[in-house]
């Protein structure tokens, strides 16, 4: 970037409003219609809000919390805060009041913008505990009519004040924006954290803009891209794709109508640049497969035949390799009959670049999308690096790596296998937590990722597990739990898996069934069940999952390093692991230690010779009430495969 290039998001906003005032900047589906705002309109909305905030006493350096689903108004609140030299602090919208109180208090938040009554109620409930919180602004006035608290203000009325304010002082907005520097704090994002209290990651404009820009150049993205802003606003990925990169390149970010309509909104919008964590790609595939089971036999035959063709030649065609002419014709035909209509139904027909990250993606799942001609790739990054560290380059995509470091990023693997990086996107520190900062960020600039990995033969990074989770079995062989769990989770029937083995004689597992997939499977076999718990306890379901575990064992047996990690015993949990119970993070990562402590009797039972385990757990309902759940769970012993003498021969046989 040249020295005169805009170095903050508000400056970028003004530039887009000048260069492409009539191009759409935001869309939102509301009342069944896509409403849009041009860059000029967004600039005006942001100016009005900034004016209002300023009139209400917002000063440079103040923090403003943002809580709600993806809405243009909430994105504008980010821009307005940054324009005034303040710091936006987005909070996960499904946080319970306790988690929210911690963040508000820790970040010293004075102002909050809440989407609706639901979020405003949470803020009201914790207001007492957050003495610094002065003003709450709500976007949707529904149900708020009879709230008479003086610190509550409607979004529209704040903007109205801002317009009056601007009337008296026209140059105010531009003047405030001009005061901003690239080295200022752009945002504080609280990471959900698999252990302990959330930590506030401090990122500057320079951090985010340089990384976002590098990734845009790497992929050749332009101001004509379309993205769907549908992941939580408090998550760095969402912030980068739908805000930072949209402002850098000048493309349009569209917000879905509601959380439940994302799939149909995706289909209507047809984004060209798309991000989804693996579980979303998995859900889509599960739904497609279930629906195909119900289709007529002609359609089903066609579908499976052409999927076979795609599996054979789809990848080489996407990677622009040489493919026999006859196969090309077949693939072309398949595209007309199956892949094209399928991609269109899923809303993925215009995708130029799609990413998945956050968790490992199953190789079958990954190649399924790629073989249809969707350019799905993996990347590696985290909140602390403003996302992008590694991206797979077109033509060099593999299902089990995360690609090479992008421009300006350096990566090295430490002695103990931990991945470290240096990047212009490296965070400034954890807000008010110098201890954690010192642990993560070395004085020479290298940042610890906490991930364990290595570079493969082609120089691509491969991540196997969280460094702290990699352990040893009793006899000293390597135990990488996530590696095994991922293999289990690649089966459609298994929603979550937690394996134990560190310091133990063998590996044992908790499994969570996928209600939709297993429920459908059971219905097709006339197996009756009334609840999740009942379905999970069925012998037939145990048989089904045992088959999966045995296949994983065969896979593991083929890899000498992990052959001893085969699963000997498993049980199926009677309840779905839930973020409300603290068992998963808000981004649905399992909290291994919490689960191990909570289900201690079951872990003990796995490592005994009992045929069943008993457990009583406390559960939290969606409305916050608590209840108790009692269950006796069967335990299955699984035959393990012998480590192959010649792994090569095994591979051939399979």
């Amino acid at each position: 970037m040249t020295a005169s290039a805009p170095d903050t998001f508000p400056k970028l906003l003004l530039e887009h409003a000048r260069l492409r005032p009539d191009r759409p900047a935001n869309r939102e589906k509301d009342y069944g219609i896509w409403q849009s705002w041009t860059w000029a309109e967004v600039a005006a909305e942001v100016e009005a809000l900034a004016g209002g905030l300023s009139a209400m006493g917002f000063r440079r350096g103040d923090k403003l919390a943002i809580i709600g689903d993806n809405r243009p108004r909430l994105y504008w609140a980010i821009a307005a805060t940054q324009a005034l030299g303040g710091v936006p602090v987005p909070i996960y919208q499904d946080s319970i009041a306790d988690e929210m109180a911690f963040v508000l208090d820790h970040a010293e938040v004075r102002f909050a913008v809440a989407e609706d009554q639901e979020q405003a109620d949470k803020l009201l409930a914790i207001k007492e505990r957050c003495p610094l919180l002065e003003t709450v602004i709500f976007s949707d006035p529904r149900g708020m009519r009879h709230y008479d608290q003086l610190f509550l203000h409607g979004y529209a009325s704040v903007q109205e004040r801002g317009r009056e304010f601007a009337h008296d002082d026209r140059g105010f907005f531009a003047r405030e924006i001009a005061k901003g520097r690239g080295s200022d704090i752009a945002i504080i994002l609280y990471t959900s954290g698999t252990t302990g209290r959330p930590k506030g990651v401090v990122l500057t404009f320079d951090n985010i803009i340089s990384t976002g820009q590098n990734a845009l150049v790497f992929e050749g993205l332009t101001n004509r891209e379309e993205v769907l802003a549908y992941l939580p606003m408090a998550w760095i990925g969402e912030h980068i794709f739908s805000y930072a990169q949209a402002y850098c390149a000048g493309f349009c970010a569209s917000c879905p109508e509601s959380g439940a309509t994302v799939m149909s909104d995706l289909r209507e919008l047809g984004p060209s640049y798309f991000f989804a964590p693996p579980r979303i790609f998995e859900n889509i595939l599960t739904q497609v497969m279930i629906r195909m089971e119900d289709a007529g036999w002609v359609k089903r035959k066609l579908f499976h035949y052409f999927l076979g063709v795609a599996k054979r030649v789809g990848l080489p065609i996407l990677d622009r390799q040489r493919v026999p002419f006859a196969d090309r014709v077949l693939y072309w035909l398949g595209n007309g009959l199956v892949y094209g209509p399928l991609k269109n139904t899923l809303g993925l027909s215009r995708v130029r670049v799609a990413y998945t990250a956050g968790e490992a993606i199953g190789p079958d799942l990954f190649t399924f999308y790629r073989s249809l001609g969707i350019n799905l790739k993996q990347l590696y990054g985290m909140t602390e690096s403003s996302v992008f560290l590694c991206i797979q380059k077109d033509g060099e995509v593999k299902p089990d790596t995360v690609g090479r470091p992008i421009k300006d990023v350096e990566i090295r693997v430490a002695q103990d296998g931990e991945v470290l990086f240096k990047s212009p996107g490296a965070f400034q520190g954890y807000y008010r937590n110098s201890e954690a900062t010192a642990e993560t960020k070395q004085s020479d600039g290298w940042v610890h990722t906490g991930d364990s990995g290595f570079f493969d033969g082609d120089g691509q990074l491969k991540i196997i597990d969280r460094a702290k989770d990699v352990g040893r079995l009793e006899r000293g062989s390597l135990f990488a739990p996530k590696y095994i769990e991922n293999k289990l989770k690649f089966f459609a029937w298994i929603k979550e898996a937690i394996v134990f083995g560190d310091g133990r004689p063998f590996v044992a597992a908790f499994l969570n069934i996928d209600l939709e997939a297993v429920g459908d499977w059971a219905e097709r076999r006339n197996l009756a069940y009334a609840s999740y718990q009942e379905l999970a306890a069925q012998t037939a379901v145990y048989d089904l999952l045992q088959g999966c575990v045995e296949r994983v064992n065969r896979d593991l047996a083929a890899e000498p390093a992990v052959a001893t990690s085969q699963i000997r015993r498993f049980l199926i949990l009677h309840k779905e692991l839930d973020a409300d119970d603290g068992e998963l993070t808000r981004t649905r990562k399992v909290r291994r230690r919490i689960i191990a402590a909570r289900y201690q009797p079951l872990v003990d039972a796995l490592y005994s010779d009992q045929p069943a385990g008993r457990i009583e757990t406390e559960i939290t309902f969606e409305d916050g009430r608590k209840g108790r759940l009692r269950a006796e769970l069967g335990i299955r012993d699984v035959p393990t495969s012998l480590p192959m003498v010649e792994p090569v021969a095994f591979k051939k046989a399979s």
Binding site: D30, Y31, G32, G143, R145, S258, S264, F621, E622, D623
Partner: protein
């Protein structure tokens, strides 16, 4: 705060009998503007009959109905609908094969001015009109948070959502008085909470007067401004929830003559 106004509907000394069976005997009842009135009572007490009299399904043998200052012997269903009385039913009565959107759109039928031919060609004023109605329906869909099922035939929806769609259709008529017959029957706790929130929001946002029949006492005590208790076709109590729940007659009706001195608690009634 909301202001409860003058009576919008008064039924005076209504009696209704089917052959030898007396469903309602000499009931007088007022429904006041902007209030939420709950009608409770044991099974067969005459609650649904009362709603049916109000919106004209049944013609009472005696008594009068005064709706917005006009007194008559009985209402006719068409009249009631055209003059701003909408209702939902104990057993969902939707067009199963039609989508949520279309079902709610039927609630606008009485408000449509263009005739069938105009609408068939869907041009000019007819088109304008349809757009206006569609906007209104979309606001209801947004209000009831059912965007995700907009295009799904209601027959395929779970019961709780069907109830919500039925409420949407009643709202589409822009009623002044909304009659809800057991809006929460057969719902789980979460669905009930949602429905309560919607009923309160309708009452607050649109100022709609609501008369509802409900068995869940917790719900009745929480959301209603006034409770009328029916038993064997007579009204035995009428007043604020707190008063009604300690009325000896009400306790006797629910628990039999050997009345327990303690007031009835949540969850009383039902079956």
């Amino acid at each position: 705060m909301k202001r409860i106004g003058e009576p919008i509907l008064t039924v005076d000394a209504i009696s209704l009998a089917f052959g030898g069976i007396t469903a309602l005997s000499g009931i007088s009842l007022e429904i006041r503007r902007h209030e939420i009135l709950a009608m409770i009572g044991p099974n067969g007490a005459g609650k649904t009959s009362m709603l049916n009299v109000i919106n004209g399904f049944y013609y009472p043998q005696a008594g009068t109905i005064t709706w917005k200052g006009e007194t008559r012997r009985h209402m006719r269903p068409y009249q009631a609908a055209a003059q701003g009385i909408a209702r939902t039913f104990q057993n969902v009565a939707l067009f199963k094969g039609m989508t949520t959107l279309d079902n709610i759109m039927t609630g606008r039928l009485l408000l449509m001015r263009r005739n069938f031919l105009w609408q068939a060609i869907h041009f000019g004023p007819a088109r304008q009109e349809e757009l206006a109605h569609r906007t209104n329906v979309e606001r209801i869909i947004d209000f009831l948070e059912i965007q995700a099922i907009r295009k799904i035939p209601v027959g395929r929806l779970p019961y709780g959502l069907q109830k919500r769609v039925e409420l949407g259709r009643a709202l589409a008529m822009e009623p002044e008085l909304l009659l809800l017959d057991e809006p929460m029957a057969g719902m789980n706790v979460e669905e009930k909470e949602d429905m309560c929130r919607f009923i309160l929001d309708i009452n607050e946002e649109f100022g709609t007067t609501i008369a509802l029949i409900e068995h869940d006492m917790g719900v009745v005590m929480d959301i209603s401004d006034r409770v009328a208790v029916l038993d064997y076709g007579r009204k035995i109590a009428d007043g604020p929830p707190a008063e009604v729940r300690i009325s000896p007659e009400v306790i006797a009706a629910y628990l039999g003559q050997q009345a327990d001195p303690h007031p009835p608690g949540d969850g009383m009634g039902g079956g």
